[in-house]
Symmetry: D2
């Protein structure tokens, strides 16, 4: 399982992180991760999992799996396929890729069967608790209205983080909690940890940064 505290980068389908362009970002993360002994993971598009996993030592995650077994599922994302490509984990139920509840349950079970780490996204305290009831590795709470914005969830709504930690740990001590939305610097990261989170999930904060190296190093300082 991911070492915590951890910084997880979701590169989404940003142009700056499609195909070989993602290598620059992954390389910086790998470098800073080693230099600063900081736990970091990168979640890339399905098409880029294999080339990233072959090139870099940081954990590579998928951005999504579908609730399926091998068979007739043209164009869907098979958990076995992302594992075979080299992913060690996956996001599930990201705010931009919601699943029905019964399918979240199946995805978590499939991830466990294949020993894939899995970060299941929630949008508020109630859904954090509901997801914790399904016993995933990680719950990542991200208020949708703050995603991609300028203010970190840890500043804009610290209670959603601390209360998610409280309800999730109330269900099970084994479930770790990340938080995300608007996270941009080391102060946001250290605030997340103060609030009880085991790390952060972020995207544009790194991918859209002009000086990515400085931003990643600053984030790592917050751990």
């Amino acid at each position: 399982m991911l070492e915590t505290p951890v910084i997880v980068l979701n590169v989404k389908t940003y142009e700056e992180a499609t195909g070989p362009k993602v290598f620059e970002i992954a390389q910086l993360m790998e470098k800073i991760s080693k230099e600063m002994d900081a736990s970091m993971a990168i979640s890339v598009q399905a098409t880029d999992i294999k080339s990233c996993a072959e090139r870099f030592s940081i954990p590579v995650f998928a951005q999504h799996i579908d609730p399926i077994k091998p068979g007739s599922h043209t164009g869907w994302t098979l958990p076995e396929a992302i594992k075979s490509a080299g992913a060690v984990g996956t996001l599930i139920n990201h705010s931009e890729h919601r699943l029905i509840l019964a399918d979240i349950d199946v995805c978590i079970k499939r991830a466990k069967e294949l020993n894939l780490d899995h970060i299941v996204c929630s949008n508020n305290v109630e859904t954090s608790k509901a997801i914790a009831a399904l016993s995933p590795n990680f719950v990542a709470v991200e208020p949708p209205e703050l995603i991609g914005g300028d203010i970190s969830v840890t500043t804009a709504d610290p209670d959603i983080v601390s209360n998610s930690v409280k309800v999730v740990k109330g269900i099970s001590k084994n479930v770790k909690v990340l938080c995300g939305a608007g996270v941009k610097n080391g102060k946001d990261v250290s605030k997340a940890l103060e609030l009880g989170a085991d790390g952060v999930l972020l995207a544009s904060g790194i991918v859209k940064a002009k000086d990515k190296e400085t931003v990643i190093a600053d984030l790592a300082k917050g751990l």
Copy 2:
């Protein structure tokens, strides 16, 4: 664009075609394609596009694209991503991965922007005509009730093929027509061409065959 007449293999998310296992199938298709001068393409899972495109000379297709541009679309399939990985085309609206009409229109437009070949699947004569109205490269008619079955669409329902050809060509001579469902041997292929189709789309007929080489060679004879 794909040379026609053509045999397009969709390997779905079958276990026998996930990760490196798909190489055996792609290699056989490449070999027979050369030996028999037969036009063939393979549609693989997103995670396997890059490694197949690097290894094999036959055209590699994605199984799906989403109606999106680069941006915040975690876990969806960006057309630019499959192109960057080496795909020269994609299936759209496969029977196992249906899209809303407005999104089929967007996917076709996005594929054209990126010079990606695109095979848009229909389920009957009416939807073949509707898709032709959107001016794709290819329409592939596949009656869902025959998919994965033992009887070829060309035997079970030849009229759906000839009538799809008729209505599609009535809309535009530039749109090519494939047919699929239950296609298993060279006779099915030659019958498809007799009915006016420009090729076939198949899956289990090859992937689940014990002697894949013999089956692929027999299919190629039908061209």
Copy 3:
């Protein structure tokens, strides 16, 4: 079938048109329809079909049907149910309620089986043509970006109307064409007819109007 030219009001799920509140609007339409000999229809929420159909002589439409037959489909909208409640027709594939292509085809066939009028919504010229290929009674073209706005489609994008008329009639003379989005007054209606449309589909233009009677009468003058 609806007499054309026609004004079709979709009351959506607006608070001002939920439950008995919709009666005031339906009554005004009925009154003005009679006084001015103008063809008008009202498309109401499923829960309000029966009470509207019992009270008013203007045609009552559903806002949606699902592609189903009687059976195990908890909470979906059965075509037989809206007919039994008194609807004489339905919208299909409204911009706020998109369907996959194969399901649009099923909905049109189910509507025809039950002699229900059906207005199938499109979002541009290409999808207008695709829908026409499925032989519905009506295609209603509504550019999503203009829906609910202040400028009528007939002013903002007259070509989308005239070109939709052209491509639809090119497929079949029997398919009638409505247009919608931002339609607010009699001038917009008369412009729609000039552009070749057989009527208009509108929503907020009436439902959100302060003086509904004046607005409806003005719209009717445009016919």
Copy 4:
């Protein structure tokens, strides 16, 4: 809130329960409910809520609500609309009408705002617990593979009932638990109560019965 123990009938979109045909069933339930002092409710199609609520004294439920507020949501089911039509409650997330997790949360909150009873369906013990974490009135556990079958969940899989009761009550004593799938007679009902459930949810057991009166009376004896 529904008095418990309770029998809730979901008539789905069965032909035998569409339009005025549902009155016969509702009338029998009303009669037996009074005679035997048994708590019963009926969940009908949206189009039939008003006429049932006007005619019968037993609680009338909707089969579904969408996670929306009044506004531009053509053809979706507005919670205010079912309440205005006379429903006192609704099913949410039925096995045939699944919702994404964030939307289940919104539907429960909307139901509470409007004082609508709400029965949220789950498919196994894990999802029962997850739903309980969202604090609904009722969780109804129904294994999809047993729905519509001949063997009652209380016989085929009694553990799913008793374990759902256990995990739900572990989250909150205030959440009541129903069970369903294959429930057909009074013995199944009394077994459900023995297993800790507060009632049953059933459909074909009544709707498809030849002698509905005898079946309903027998079910009521099980309370």
